[in-house]
Symmetry: C2
Subunit: 218 residues, 2 copies
């Protein structure tokens, strides 16, 4: 049986999510690094666009040769096809709460702070690096404030976002916390988020997915 191939980039937050999930599910995979910086971006090549017409990472080529794109879709597919261990609990309301945290990151923080957007701010809009940094921190603050409140209201014992097992919420949180730290965004106001991130760091599936441990890390 051929192994699935993950087209990724060590620093891509969306690829990092999928690496964590693959590791948690115990799925063996091959990595194909797509360098988003070198030569103007390997993701923009015709060869990669044939795989992913959106020209983004990650893309997951399954053992059957099908191609999946968009991390939220890939993660739901992984949960459906490899249900053990689960990233979502059985109860529909608990699943909705966890997916809401994932969506705040996937929709309202990360897309505003990715490479393409920062390039548009610095290029066509002529923003200074200070203005870009303020923009970056603004969306992290807004999203993390809401998530911190949601985690507090959930009243689980922790240490993870929603209790004593990592869920899809942690899969999204850890890469976003990594990004925030990389851009020096202070996280003191979000103790529940920081605690969940720290708990995840002790789990090999999360540690192995860290950007610094990828073959293409520089």
């Amino acid at each position: 049986m051929p192994r699935p191939v993950l087209h990724d980039y060590f620093r891509s937050s969306a690829a990092y999510r999928v690496r964590i999930a693959l590791n948690l599910k115990g799925i063996d995979y091959t990595q194909h690094a797509v360098n988003l910086i070198r030569d103007g971006g390997e993701h923009l090549s015709d060869a990669y666009r044939a795989i992913n017409p959106q020209a983004r990472v990650p893309s997951l080529e399954t053992a059957d040769g099908d191609v999946l794109i968009q991390s939220p879709a890939i993660l739901e597919w992984l949960e459906e096809t490899h249900p053990t261990p689960p990233l979502l609990p059985a109860g529909t309301m608990a699943r909705a709460r966890i997916r809401a945290v994932a969506a705040i990151i996937a929709c309202d923080i990360h897309p505003l702070n990715n490479l393409g957007v920062m390039g548009y701010l610095k290029g066509p809009l002529g923003c200074t690096q200070d203005a870009v940094n303020a923009w970056y921190a603004h969306w992290v603050y807004k999203g993390f404030s809401a998530i911190e409140t949601l985690l507090r209201r959930a009243e689980t014992s922790g240490p993870f976002a929603f209790g004593d097992l990592p869920t899809l919420a942690d899969v999204y949180l850890v890469p976003q916390v990594f990004n925030a730290r990389r851009f020096n965004v202070p996280l003191d106001a979000y103790p529940r988020i920081v605690a969940a991130d720290a708990a995840c760091a002790d789990i090999p599936a999360f540690a192995k997915a860290h950007p610094s441990r990828q073959p293409d890390a520089v």
Copy 2:
């Protein structure tokens, strides 16, 4: 049995998605309009933040009094709790393809073009209306180009995004097409998207969810 309450705003694209899905599922609901413009925004009130700490629409209060936030999470919850008629087919790969289209809109088009972002561009970044319009169109083009290719590659007979029944892809596409037209973004390059949107317009569940037909429309 009390009816669920949808906290929405007629022009909110995310609320529009949920209205469509509720209508398609045949779920009767009460609307509570949250005016995002008047008095600096009713969504920012303490009363609304108690319901939704992210201070965004939509929020769905279930008949049991639970509150759901974030349209992607609400839509998955609706699919799990009211599976008929389905918004996702049975096959896991088909589901992943449909969710990928939904995610391109939910993550890579809509969040860059919502009220909060446009306010930041005009306010702190001092962008002109022309610069904001160019920004708006840029993200629609990039996302719709990828979706148009994905729909062509899927090779379904139409008329909907993925065949002869509306799916979650159409639930996301229709509000995004409405937004694009509102901002005068030309859609000639996306015939499959335009055709899916036209097919949906003939379905009462979609028509009834249109912004112009909401009680708070102005």
